[in-house]
């Protein structure tokens, strides 16, 4: 039972990380109608920045803050230099252009940081597990991830539900309507929104960094999971992204942990251990397929107009 709770927490933590990534994607898609495959590159950069700054400053917290600022800046620069030119073009152009950017960023990281990965050590105070339930010790760092991500989710909730910008986003407003209603420079707004999405990706990357190694291409597979999340949640919906992310995180983690045991009930022990690894990594895609059959527009579809 304790193991189950622990796995649930792991799943929640993973799901919330996915949410940070998916929120940026879905925000950028919802507002600028841009499909950004290079979002995973920003995740990777967040992790590399954090590892580098941690080595310089010897402080995890300062490094994290600096890395966050750095991905924000890189994101805004990327928008101004390249992605801005892709707005209003069709999605194939987005896919191709940002696919090129992935190659660029992977190579750039290889040039700057070298082909070997890096690690981001945690400070002592984040390593020790704390007892959250009688007999259940859970790593402080993972709790910190959960709390941070929940705070970000709250911030996004307020942004989307309580501000004028958010209302326009929810209404699926066009560019001209946005400018009219907000009276702001739309180019600047887009740059800021993209920067916010980039910073969220960077935050996810730097928080994941101490758990896994920091390496080239680390953003690519998780990016596809983030896609799955926003397909399930409904593209453009922050609320959908949140619920779908937690769902995906839980199913993926719990599936990996318990599927072998469950399969052993129906299959031979050898059969189960052959099938289980393949099955458990496929589970969330099956979830996606089921959602698509029942609700092709996702769980929380945003009215397209």
């Amino acid at each position: 039972m304790l193991l189950f709770i622990e796995q649930c927490l792991n799943g929640l933590q993973f799901g919330l990380l996915l949410f940070l990534l998916a929120a940026g994607l879905t925000l950028v898609f919802g507002i600028m109608d841009l499909v950004n495959l290079a979002h995973g590159s920003l995740y990777m950069l967040g992790a590399y920045f954090a590892a580098t700054f941690a080595a310089w400053t010897d402080s995890f917290v300062i490094a994290a803050l600096l890395a966050l600022a750095a991905t924000l800046v890189v994101g805004m620069a990327l928008e101004v230099v390249a992605l801005r030119r892709l707005y209003g073009r069709d999605h194939l152009d987005h896919v191709l252009g940002t696919f090129g950017l992935i190659l660029f960023f992977n190579e750039l990281v290889r040039i700057i940081w070298g082909p070997a990965g890096m690690s981001l050590p945690l400070p002592m105070w984040l390593i020790y597990p704390i007892e959250i339930l009688p007999g259940l010790f859970y790593p402080t760092y993972r709790i910190a991830i959960i709390l941070t991500a929940l705070l970000v989710a709250l911030f996004l909730y307020v942004l989307v539900m309580r501000t004028r910008l958010g209302m326009l986003i929810r209404a699926g407003a066009s560019n001209r309507e946005m400018t009219g209603a907000l009276g702001v420079n739309i180019n600047l707004l887009y740059t800021l929104v993209f920067g916010l999405g980039a910073a969220l990706a960077g935050l996810a990357g730097l928080m994941q960094a101490p758990i896994l190694t920091v390496q080239i291409g680390m953003g690519e597979n998780i990016l596809i999971l983030a896609f799955v999340v926003i397909i399930i949640g409904g593209i453009g919906s922050i609320r959908g992204a949140f619920i779908a992310a937690v769902l995906v995180g839980l199913i993926d983690t719990i599936g990996r942990a318990f599927l072998p045991d469950i399969l052993r009930l129906v299959l031979s022990s050898r059969g189960a251990s052959t099938v289980a690894p393949a099955m458990s990594s496929m589970m969330i895609y099956l979830l996606m397929a089921i959602v698509l059959v029942l609700r092709p527009e996702g769980l929380f579809p945003v009215s397209s107009k």
Binding site: F29, V35, A82, R85, L86, R89, H91, L92, D93, V95, L96, G97, F99, G100, L101, I102, L103, F104, F105, N106, E107, L108, R110, I111, E220, N221, I224, F227, V228, I230, I231, I235, T274, P277, A278, M279, S281, M282, Y285, L286, M288, A289, L292, V293, P296, E297
Partner: protein, 331 residues
Amino acid sequence: MIASLTPRNVVVAVLLLLLAAVPVYAAVTANAFLVTLFTRVIILGIAASSLNLILGYGGMVSFGHAVYLGIGGYAVGILAQEGVTSGFVQWPLALFVSALFALLVGALSLRTRGVYFIMITLAFAQLVYYFGVGLDRYGADDGLTIRRRSQFDDLINLSDRTQFYYLCLALLLATIYLIWRVVNSRFGMVIQGARSNDRRMRAIGFPTFRYRLTAFVIAGAICGVAGALLANHTGFISPATMHWTRSGDLIVMVVLGGMASSFGPLIGAVALLSLEEALPVLIRAMAFPVFGDAAVRMAEYWQIVLGPLFLLVVLFARGGIDGLLAGARRG
């Protein structure tokens, strides 16, 4: 395909002549690498042509097309591992399983539009990728070595480099011809109409879903055969064959060469693979006078040039190479 002396036709004719001459040239110069490289170019040309049917003509941006290369490859690899080396069994199975998977993915993904379609095709390809990674019995992550190429009795010997090369070339031409016929048939008019304006298609009485799904399945089946060829060519199949970046490469080939043009995907395959070979050499040559020996190391990072190049193609040469050639005729 009506023969007239436009720049585009001249380029295609020259390209085909060069492709036909590769094994001869390689034999004279004892450069076996050329045959290996161009066999790969041709096989990926088949795969890109099949993607062009749905992407270029049908407007379906499938971001999971490399998965059929993997399925076709594993059909050959797994059967070979289990002792079935006959190509008469392996290749039809590669085609059939690819078609079946395309049917499944298409049935789910074609209910959606735009960016959903892109992401769903990508996600289903990833599903198969992970399935391959989990296949412990067949090498999992490390892949599967195929010790014997597909056997076609006395018909053709695939272990002979030259015979295999010409078989691939013949299949490429057959694919291009087949797709050309299909896109100009009634069926082709329907899928092109659905790309142009699906709503109007339904209003004039076409149940477009079944036609688009059929095109999706045909494309998957052809690419499955390309996968069988690729596995024979490399003697190896691993999940990496169907990694999503491979699907991205196929899209690049189609767009780089020119969408909805018969020979565009082949031109794109030639261009992309040539770039991959040529960029390191170019970088080394250009950097050497300035940076000296450091240029050798700089050449390793050729992808930093290739990536932004894709972006430039998107921004400034949307019609691809074929579009530039067609434009040259006018200008």
